[in-house]
Each structure stands twice: as C-alpha cells, then as structure tokens.
C-alpha cells in the first residue's frame, strides 16, 4: 500500500516536472533551429538566431534597460520598504494599521490597473513616457512586497537588539548602519531579489509607460508581433541561461550562509 502511494507520488511529481519543463525544453530546442520557423521538424543545431539577437541593438539595449530598471527600481523599493517597515515596527504611529494597509494595498491590485492609473496620471500631468515612468510603476508594485517581507521579520527580538545598541551608546544612524541593516540583511536581500525578479519579467506597466527605450519583455513582445522566427526563442533561452547562472550564484553564496 505504502509502496503504491510512493510510486504514484513519484509518477505524479515526474508528470508535473514534465509539465513545468515542457515549454522550456521546446523553447531552448527551437532556439537552435536552423530555419526561419520555430516549428517541427527540428533542423538545428545552429547558433544563427543567437547571433541575430546579439547583433540586434534594440534587443541588447532593451536588455540593458531591463537590468537598469530592475536594479534601480528594486533598490528604491527595498529602501522605501525597509525604512517604512522600520518606522512602523519601531514606533507607535497613529492609525498605524491603516497606514500599513495603505502601503500593502497595491499587492491586491492587478498590474494592468496600476499601469493604467499611472498612464492616465502621467498623461494628465503632461509627463512623457519613459523608462523612468516604468521604473516608478515597478516601485509601486514592489514596495508593498519589500515592506511586507521586511516588516514581518522585525520581531520583538530585533527591536530589543536595537535597544541594546542604543543602550550601549550608539547614535541612531549607527544603530541603523551597524545593527539593523546587517541583522535584517537576509530579509532585505530577499525583498530585493524578489523585486528584481518581478521587475525583470513585468510587461504591461512597461508596455504602457515606455516610449522608445523600453524593457526586454516589451521588446520581445514587439519582436513577437513583427515576424515569426526563432529569434524569440533565442532571446528567451539567453535570459533563462543568465537567470540560472544568477540563481545558482545566489544559492551558492548568499543563501548558503545560514544566519544565526
């Protein structure tokens, strides 16, 4: 009986893994397609489409844009999130629950709606579309996430640790720099990493808020709509490869260090 459950469990897990990896395998396979269509039969392998991607300046600059937006907007989100989490966890503020609710509210709103709202607002204010506008949108979606993650980690123990530092004579800024930030580093990092992931993959806000310089998902979307070829697969595979390297690096370096 147990054996049957075990076997069934294994089969099920394999099936789900298969489902999860199916599009990825197809993606990578047809990125190596020699002909113009990413459709069977497989005619590769060929690096033709990778060359095409790397020599397409719109794609490469979109890639740089995406990285910049992801890093900067995540840094902004995690900074704002951290400061406000610290404020709310450490001090009694009037209607704190309400204000915290306000900060986390965007978590419950679809990206499309956030993007639409900003589009209407920027139109109305006469602000041009730009990467900056998209970055602002990404901070809106990631700030509540960073806040929630960091706030949830600021327990009473963390509060006492800071009190101890103050008690031992540390001025406020040293408490922040020498104690709070290092102690909260795992949560801060988790917030940053998650924000990066979401910003990197975000489409609709960037689509609505950028003009010429745009992010990779939007450029891939344009690519998709401007002709059928395995270049799309090549971009996707490249992004995947880079991401895996990053994730593995994170895993090996930062996440391995088990905190106290």
């Amino acid at each position: 009986m147990r054996r049957i459950v075990r076997i069934a469990a294994w089969l099920y897990a394999l099936a789900v893994y298969g489902f999860i990896f199916l599009p990825v395998i197809v993606l990578v396979l047809f990125s190596l397609q020699a002909t113009s269509f990413p459709i069977p039969p497989f005619t590769g392998p060929s690096l033709r489409w990778y060359q095409a991607v790397l020599s397409d300046t719109r794609l490469t600059s979109a890639l740089v844009n995406s990285l910049a937006v992801a890093i900067l907007s995540s840094a902004a989100a995690v900074t704002l999130g951290f400061l406000s989490a610290w404020g709310f966890a450490r001090f009694t503020l009037p209607s704190s629950t309400l204000l915290r609710g306000l900060i986390t509210l965007p978590l419950t709103v679809s990206y499309l709606i956030i993007g639409m709202g900003l589009l209407v607002l920027f139109n109305w204010a006469g602000l041009p579309k730009s990467l900056l506008a998209a970055g602002i949108g990404h901070v809106v979606i990631n700030l509540p996430l960073c806040f929630a993650i960091i706030y949830s980690q600021m327990g009473d123990h963390q509060i006492n640790i800071e009190r101890a530092a103050r008690d031992l004579g540390a001025p406020e800024w040293k408490v922040l720099l020498l104690i709070t930030v290092p102690v909260m580093a795992p949560a801060i990092f988790a917030g940053f990493f998650l924000s990066m992931t979401f910003s990197w993959d975000e489409f609709v806000i960037s689509f609505l808020l950028t003009r010429f310089d745009t992010t990779l998902p939007v450029e891939i979307w344009n690519l998709l709509r401007s002709g059928l070829n395995p270049k799309t697969n090549a971009v996707g595979s490249l992004v995947f490869a880079v991401s895996i390297v990053l994730v593995v690096l994170f895993e090996l370096t930062l996440l391995r260090r088990t905190p106290a």
């Binding site: 009190r163 101890a164 008690d167 031992l168 004579g169 040293k174 104690i179 106290a260």
Partner: protein, 354 residues
C-alpha cells in the same frame, strides 16, 4: 536629596488609557542587589524601562546620582540593560558584541579587545571571544550579555527576567553566578523576575509589585517572614491561610476566632476586625508533640516527595474548606489518608489585616 544611587520619585505611567504605574517611589543604594518581583502585568518591565530610559514616565522624576535623568536617552545614562532575550548582535562575534559599547565610546581597537577579554573572563567565557552568539548555549549567551553590559562600567545594571528562558538547573546555577559577579564588580543590580525563589536567592532588597504599585519592600527575609500585605504573603511562597475575626485585643495580644478555633497572637487590630492569619508550610507542625497553638486535626490528601523534604497537603477535619500546606522532613512517615494533629507557634503566625 538622599545619597541614594537611584531615586525614583512619585513615578506614574500610562499607556493610552491604562495606568500601569501608580505613584511609585523607590530608592536604590550603591552596590545593592534589588529584585523587582511581581505577577505578570504588574508593571515591572515598565518601571525598568523608565530606569533604562526607554520609556519616559507620564509623571514623576528619576534621579541617578542626584541628577535628574527623567528624559535622558538610554545612551547617555549610567545604566545598562540586560534583555531577557539577551539581544546579542547575531552578526558580530562575541568579542565584538562585548566591545560594542566601548566602540561607541570611541575606544580604540586594541584597548577594546583587551577590556572585552577581561569582561568575558569575569563571566567565565574567555574562550568564546571569537565565536558567534549562535554557537553558544542559552546560559553562555546570557553571560555574554552580562559581560557586554558590564564592560562599560554602568553605575546601575538593569536585568529584565534574565533567567526566564533557562531551565531550572541552569537557572539555579546562573543565580549563583549572577550573585557572585555582582559581588565582585560592586555595581548596583536591579533585576526583574516573577519567581519568588529567585528573588529570595538573589536580593539584598526585594520590591514586591502588584497592579502598578509597590506592595512591600525590604530585605527578603523580612518580606518573607513578615509580609506587609496579604498579596505579598501569598505571592512570596505558599501559606496556609485562616480567615477570622478579632474577638479580643489587649496589651498587644489579640484573639482571633477562626474555623480552627480561637487563636491568640501578638498584634494590634481592634475587636471586630476581619483579619487573615498566614502560616508558612515549614512552620506548621504535624503530629501530637506540636506547637503551642493547636489548629485541630487534618486528613492528609497528598504527600509529594521533593527530595530534601515532603510537601503535604491536608484538609482540616473541623472545616474541610481549610487546606493545610505543610513541609515535613524527607524521613517523615506521613501517608495520604492519615489523620494528624496540626499546630504551630504563635510567633510564626503572620497577621494580615487587609
């Protein structure tokens, strides 16, 4: 003002609507070991936080060494706190933790390390200098927290339930160590606990708090033997409690009518006053060859062996609602079900009038 090291003068504190400290005044002498004892919610932590500078009292003043410190921030006070959860900085080594206070004072690295090592040696952890807090046991962390607080030579060390998280054995051991360290360094310790035994084991001066007020204070022997209030009597160790009414009072002796019969003892209340008589378990005498005051006979309900003694629970035969709690030597041959005579000596009876 007096030469007290700390003088807490008519301090009251409110959290929103709730009054948690009610006109508390307290003096702390240099080099003393003071215990703040009281049930949960009685305001001990709040009082300690006011001393440490983490909370500014709604009313009243705090003087340390004669200076008004009421709203001086923690960093600038001659007090240091040892937190219940130790609050060690998890990302720093033990040495860096202990040296932190000196670092904030701008002491250079070499002197800092030397002093931190000294302080660690004082608490018996010289070898832990390069370890991280998570590599230490609970008791060791506690001692690091102590070293970290002591190294900056505070005039007053504040400890909020420093032993609350430890198991019984370690707790006993740490109590001995705390007391020894306090004697060695001579700093005034103010220590919060809700464990009566801890209070008695450590205190020079014991402060019993209840509901935001100081109920009783003094040397622990006095507080135990002659509690000022009924609360203090029941909170400081177990007692057999007899309620009664004063029937006679002359020349410093009163007679109280209780369900175990009339009892005469030294005291001042007027006839008609409702009083309670408390008798500590070790003062109840079981068996025929008893004390001067007979308390009738009782049926033993339970005998609990406690190593060096037996704890005996018995119900009065005369008044089954009256419960006796007594201690007998481990060798005593008392069995549940036995019926025995109970008595005590008049001088051991604590008369409580409130």
């Amino acid at each position: 003002m007096s030469a007290s090291l700390v003088d807490i003068s008519s301090v009251s504190h409110r959290f929103g609507q709730q009054v948690v400290l009610k006109n508390v005044s307290l003096q702390i002498e240099p080099g003393s070991y003071t215990i703040l004892l009281g049930p949960s919610g009685s305001g001990k932590t709040t009082l300690l936080s006011i001393l440490g500078g983490f909370v500014t009292p709604s009313e009243g003043k705090v003087f340390i060494r004669g200076e008004d410190c009421t709203s001086v921030p923690p960093a600038k006070r001659p007090t240091t706190t040892v937190f219940q959860d130790y609050a060690l900085f998890p990302h720093m080594t033990v040495g860096a933790n202990v040296g932190f206070g000196l670092r904030m004072q701008g002491v250079d690295g070499a002197r800092r390390a030397a002093k931190a090592r000294e302080a660690l040696a004082l608490v018996g952890l010289a070898a832990a200098f390069d370890k991280k807090p998570h590599q230490l046991s609970g008791g060791q962390r506690q001692r690091v927290a102590l070293a970290r607080a002591l190294v900056i030579e505070p005039a007053v060390l504040l400890l909020d339930e420093p032993l609350g998280a430890l198991d019984l054995k370690l707790r006993r051991q740490m109590q001995d160590e705390l007391k020894a360290i306090q004697k060695r360094v001579g700093t005034a310790f103010i220590h919060v606990t809700h464990d009566q035994e801890e209070a008695m084991a450590l205190a020079d001066h014991c402060v019993v708090m209840n509901d935001g007020r100081i109920e009783d204070e003094g040397p622990p022997e006095r507080v135990y033997a002659r509690p000022a209030t009924r609360f203090s009597a029941t909170f400081m160790g177990e007692s057999t409690i007899l309620s009664g009414t004063v029937t006679e009072a002359k020349s410093g002796t009163v007679t109280v009518a209780t369900s175990a019969g009339p009892i005469s003892l030294p005291g001042a209340p007027q006839p008609g006053a409702k009083v309670a008589l408390a008798i500590r378990p070790e003062h109840l005498v079981l068996g025929a060859t008893g004390g001067a005051v007979a308390l009738g006979s009782a049926k033993v309900r339970d005998v609990v062996f406690q190593g060096s003694f037996k704890r005996i629970l018995a119900s009065s035969v005369e008044d089954p609602t009256l419960q006796f709690i007594a201690k007998a030597p481990a060798s005593a041959a008392v069995q549940p079900g036995d019926t025995i005579a109970v008595s005590c000596n008049a001088g051991d009876i604590i008369l409580l009038t409130d």
